[in-house]
Symmetry: D2
């Protein structure tokens, strides 16, 4: 998963892009990059690490100019290559172009083989590179024309911010898999994957970039953003997992506030999967908090923070070796003994992927004195991998793809395990944000061919 940010026409473009990436850090912690331009030269800085670590040592000051785009990247398999970090840069007959991409192509591999057969060289294992090859080969001399021609040839999810010395161009694929919003900062046009980036920099949300829409902002004259719809319309397939887990709770994406959607999922879950003997509802923090609040409200059971999350756990943790075991989950999540002792508790989490963490957590909760432990998940069982940008593991690793709920319950050691139904999830999302969601990870019904 990734976050993208673009700032057109602001004298602090790179600083603002940096802040925007910081606000969207949850979408990608492997590395980050910013490319900026002053209309003549282009400046780039990309590194592995967290946003605040990447842009140290005066690197922001070297990213000159009044336009900038940024990208944070989430680690995916086989990709610890610095060449994979965005925004990608290319020099071609189009001049230099930089491109930040959130989403995944389903035909990336097919195109890679085809382009290689035609003499293309690949530096990364990133399917964004397919897009820039197609642009370079488009024969077009104009950034928008090249982007349109390239993107019409591929299938999949793309929210893109592209930039050259003259303009910033954003595009969202016709199904609208990934969010992308347009904002306004004192007259400058800004773009970001989630609007919390706007909150931080003091910009106002204008609207979502619409599925299939292309918006161009000239960097040469201070004209208004120009919108067009160059692609054939498709049925909307917005990623429901953005609501379930991925987006920040304080963001508004696909038209609804994420926190509110999650609370409603919790209320629904309380109806579908009640736990009548429970004394207490506790979330798995932080992502389970809104659904737990909703569940507690729906079930009329008291809510408490019975698990404390340590926020000092970062990427650089050194694992002491040898005999010490199983402290990994406890390092991050520690039960509040006094709150749960002797009680029947409902533990609410947003999703259950492999089951290993939940299993350890249940053990710690029982060690801390919980009587019954009811696990409630505010989304359906994840049975299929995502090919549109969420880094779900392979099907084999998804415990729900091959095992029954009863088996999983026994594996994690809970007294009961209840998932929100697929229908419950989609009803809630549709009721709050209108129709048009992709729930392929829960159903296997992929909205595109998969190649």
């Amino acid at each position: 998963m990734c976050a993208i940010v673009g700032i057109a026409d602001h004298k602090e473009a790179s600083n603002l892009t940096y802040l925007g990436l910081h606000a969207l850090q949850h979408r990608g912690q492997e590395g980050a990059g910013i490319v900026s331009t002053d209309g003549e030269q282009v400046f780039a800085h990309r590194r592995r690490g967290l946003v605040q670590d990447v842009f140290g040592n005066g690197s922001l000051a070297r990213l000159k100019g009044s336009a900038a785009i940024g990208h944070t990247r989430y680690s995916t398999t086989g990709s610890s290559n610095i060449a994979n970090l965005g925004p990608l840069m290319m020099k071609s007959s189009l001049g230099w172009v930089s491109l930040a991409h959130n989403g995944n192509l389903v035909d990336g591999e097919k195109w890679t083989r085809k382009l290689e057969a035609e003499g293309a060289i690949f530096q990364s294992t990133n399917d964004t590179e397919v897009i820039i090859h197609l642009m370079a080969r488009s024969g077009e001399k104009d950034l928008e024309a090249a982007l349109i021609k390239a993107l019409k040839q591929v299938e999949g999810a793309f929210s893109i911010i592209a930039m050259n010395a003259d303009k910033m161009v954003v595009v969202r694929d016709p199904r609208g898999f990934r969010p992308l919003l347009m904002g306004d900062l004192d007259g400058s046009t800004v773009f970001a994957s989630e609007d919390t980036a706007f909150d931080l920099i003091g910009a106002k949300t204008v609207r979502e970039v619409r599925p299939g829409e292309m918006i161009t902002v000239s960097l040469r004259n201070h004209g208004a953003p120009e919108s067009s719809f160059p692609f054939a319309p498709k049925e909307k397939a917005q990623c429901v997992f953005e609501y379930v887990y991925f987006s920040r709770p304080d963001s508004t994406v696909f038209g609804s506030n994420v926190h509110e959607v999650r609370k409603e999922l919790g209320r629904k879950l309380a109806k579908e999967q009640p736990a009548p003997d429970a004394h207490l509802v506790i979330p798995v923090p932080d992502s389970g908090v809104p659904a737990a609040i909703g569940f507690a409200e729906g079930a009329k059971i008291p809510f408490d923070m019975g698990i404390i999350r340590s926020h000092y756990v970062g990427r650089t943790f050194i694992e002491p070796q040898q005999s010490i075991r199983d402290f990994g989950v406890k390092l991050k999540l520690n039960p509040v003994r006094s709150a749960i002792q002797g009680k029947n508790i409902v533990v609410v989490d947003d999703s259950l992927v492999r089951g290993t963490t939940t299993r350890k957590l249940v053990k710690h909760l029982r060690d801390a004195g919980a009587n019954k432990v009811h696990i409630r998940i505010s989304s359906p069982p994840i049975t299929h991998s995502c090919f549109y940008g969420i880094d779900t593991p392979t099907r084999k690793e998804l415990i729900a793809s091959t095992h029954s709920t009863e088996y999983i319950r026994e594996y994690i050691g809970a007294d009961s395990l209840g998932y929100l139904s697929e229908q419950g999830l989609m009803e809630t999302a549709s009721a709050m944000s209108g129709r048009g969601f992709c729930d392929a990870c829960f159903t296997g019904k992929y909205p595109t061919a998969l190649n």
Copy 2:
């Protein structure tokens, strides 16, 4: 403020000490250190930075031996000197001794001048150095005797873990200002400032080290810890601010679980300072969460996470310069617009020190659409500085030491501002943990002479 950890007689002493310090990171983020011994040599590693950053590059493997003590340090004024990092080490007629100290002496400066007049050399600005000088000058050849003789001469707060090649000795001052607990890990004796350190390493809490108690563990033979009470008894003066703010919510200190105490403070606050027109209770996360839950329960007003805290904000944040202003609070705390829009909200925080952060937060909440903003603080106005180890600012900077509540309300821009009464705080603490608390920061009634 600081955390201290000691592991006697465990083959992974340094690894466990490291994990213990990690669990207590909230008590000190400026730097950390571990000293270990194999009974012959002594090994030390101290650095500025977070625990996980300090012990990289194989430093843990170099901290050999089956006994170790550790220390994390909170930044205090004028102290960015590496010589101030603990545990302190000295070589003297006692051989080498290492000492980790949580707390502050009130007569540190007086002793420094006196010792200097007698020819002593100081390396740090740390009052712990007074203690090791007094030990070196005690004429005693035994670690415990030297510690007792030294500590009988000073006044103030000290929870101490000392170690030489032969033994580990812990002491808690007779008033018991700072917490210190003893645990057991498969037969090894362990010590820590809070018992969440025990949770992480899988140790069981045995009991608190009592005010005025000294406990010795031999590192040479596997005997039981030996307890004694070498100091004249004093009236207990446990730091109530540990309950209000400092300790982790999942810790049990001074005999009660911190989360439970905080919830109860919230309930009491709801009674003392109701907000009848409020639609919603929201905490300032993370520290305000338990009191807000208690307030909501007491006031029977719905609870919600109306402010989201970003946990990517750390020490290394690079502030972009020039024109961007006021993003500091927003970087960390962002309102959930949809949750608070048009509503009268009660915002619960644990304490109010200078008022500047709360002022910005109120502004952001109003910008996000809150109708009325009622600020409720689950502790009394802070009017006096602490001399026992909490890094409160000078009185001049404490807004409540020189201004009325009404003035502060206006300054922060709230519709109403209500503090928990001093009586309410002490009643709650006493009801839950027995009598004997220091509340000098709220009252100015210091339990010791100030020098």
Copy 3:
């Protein structure tokens, strides 16, 4: 300038490549990289910095496999881009190929424009990328065939070591601008820019790779290296500046030992440009030492180390600011006052590029008490830029391209200034190593078209 190293079929391939690069560090200090393969996977590590700094933190251990190629890069204009560091990597229809290149193409820019027009994307400003594009577009499926087809299309200097999972292929351009040698290490074939790399790893020099030769070593079976001459023969144009300055004195390149050639240049210089009133010959260390020894021998004037070079001067020198000036040259080169005081001295250096350093040096020598200062340069005036891989400045910055020797003498403040004649240089090189040298930097007679 750059150094390249290749180790085929040795279980410590990466370690040996690292040592080889270390021995050739003088050819490129901007950055270094190694690519290795175990026949299935490919491993790469490239970074800016000195060889010993680049390969820290276990990076060598991660460069697995029994074949490896390495590259060190010298900083050239506009190239502080990590994408410019070698060996370059590409994934294309040829599979992955890695390529280390010493030399420069004269038609790199022309080809870049042409390839971009055909849809190619460029990541670096490095003309090596032209070669890999031509290989990817060759339509050939075989590494050698692709290399031959690509290299037949370009003009310029290339000593190349290429590698894929199956074979290591080295090529030297038909004019043989840059050196490249083949060695043998206990039956394994090794390649390097200079044979001091072989000295260090204990390999024996087999012979030079000949101008226009391609040598292939299979990585799949332990066959002998296979030689071919796929290019149309050209007149040899070995870089005489390798003798004058670039190569290590203990290396044997183009068939002669560099130290011996330099001493002979010094003897010749003594004949051409005597300094009859001199009491002492002193070198500008280290590069001027052999010529100074030769000059002293030829002129029968005593030799002494009258200037001491500090070897602590590296890349990371922090320049203290403000009022301190002109310490730059002195930091590196300090006169031995007692040796030169009151004497007429001949100062021998290998070349004179801009004149600024020599000017400061002459001043320091006079300040230290030298009576007369005669500057002797063991090469002719540099009047033209090199387009074959030596990083000479532009003509404008070459003091001899626009100024007379008398002007330069006055500018540097010497009592006399004498260069070796172009004829003297070429006679010496030819006498020692046979005919066929490029001396374009002294004459402007470029052996290729320049595009």
Copy 4:
């Protein structure tokens, strides 16, 4: 070994101290430090590493004020403790004092025990700490008085620069073991271990600080340095090893230029230990160069640089593991095959300590084709450890302390081995610099009791 530098009353005091330490880096590469003062506050920066690495990241700018003292430290046994890095700092009844010390006390350990018995605490294993304890306990309120009282009690070698907010005080022990010079930079008084530090910063040498002399420079008013001789005079015992190896060749210490002394030692060696069948004299660079030039001159045998030293070999070299052996010496010293092939060579080095490096070097020279290898050492056999500041190994490791010259010759594999006689060394030193040298490392005749 160490270097010390002091700059009194110059607005760029820290910058100049930094440059001075850089020039004296050869005297200590383990770590460095600078302490400066603006007359009110004191600023310190000490770190392990080379001078240019220690003072990065703006640390020089933080060392404010117009007076500064600096120290570089050479690694000695058991001392990888940052507390050992100079200049030492203390806060005591004297206020703060900082002290940079070159030399070693012979009674350091005795004093440490005595002071510990009196209640002193030690932080380092550095005998400089004894001096500051004695100062703190002197009862004196004045820096000079405290220094004099302290230094009268100890025995050994000390060249010291001390500083507090009011004055800079330098002292040299009455025997004058270690060099120390006073210079003048545009009216500011400066001090340094060797006068090459003055060359670099543009200062002029005024004179040596005399054995037993104390010089005080007020930092409050711009008065002239004041000299006194507070100690009972002793027979001079200047370290002859400064001439043999330690000082920079371009330095003038003890009244003579080091390079000239070394050349003369070479001439004398040629007379004492001729090598009549030799074709060539080659130095072991860099330290053997002047003696080799002198030997060649004395013996009338041609001189050549037959061994090339790589200057990229630093502290951070990563040794590749496993099967590669013996490249350590070759990495640094590589024979010039063509220069020595088939020849009888005299290899001149300054000293021979353990013999292991020379042994490997002889092997490499033979591998490179040398016929006979005659080793000549421009100093006598080292048979005793130094207790005055040179880090000679223990006697057991000194090959000449337990083995005959013939045994050593055989061990290193040379055709002949000749040392300069002790008489020859002392005659030369005395002839050039007057009487009064310590040659205990060659004779065991220590000029002081050893404790």
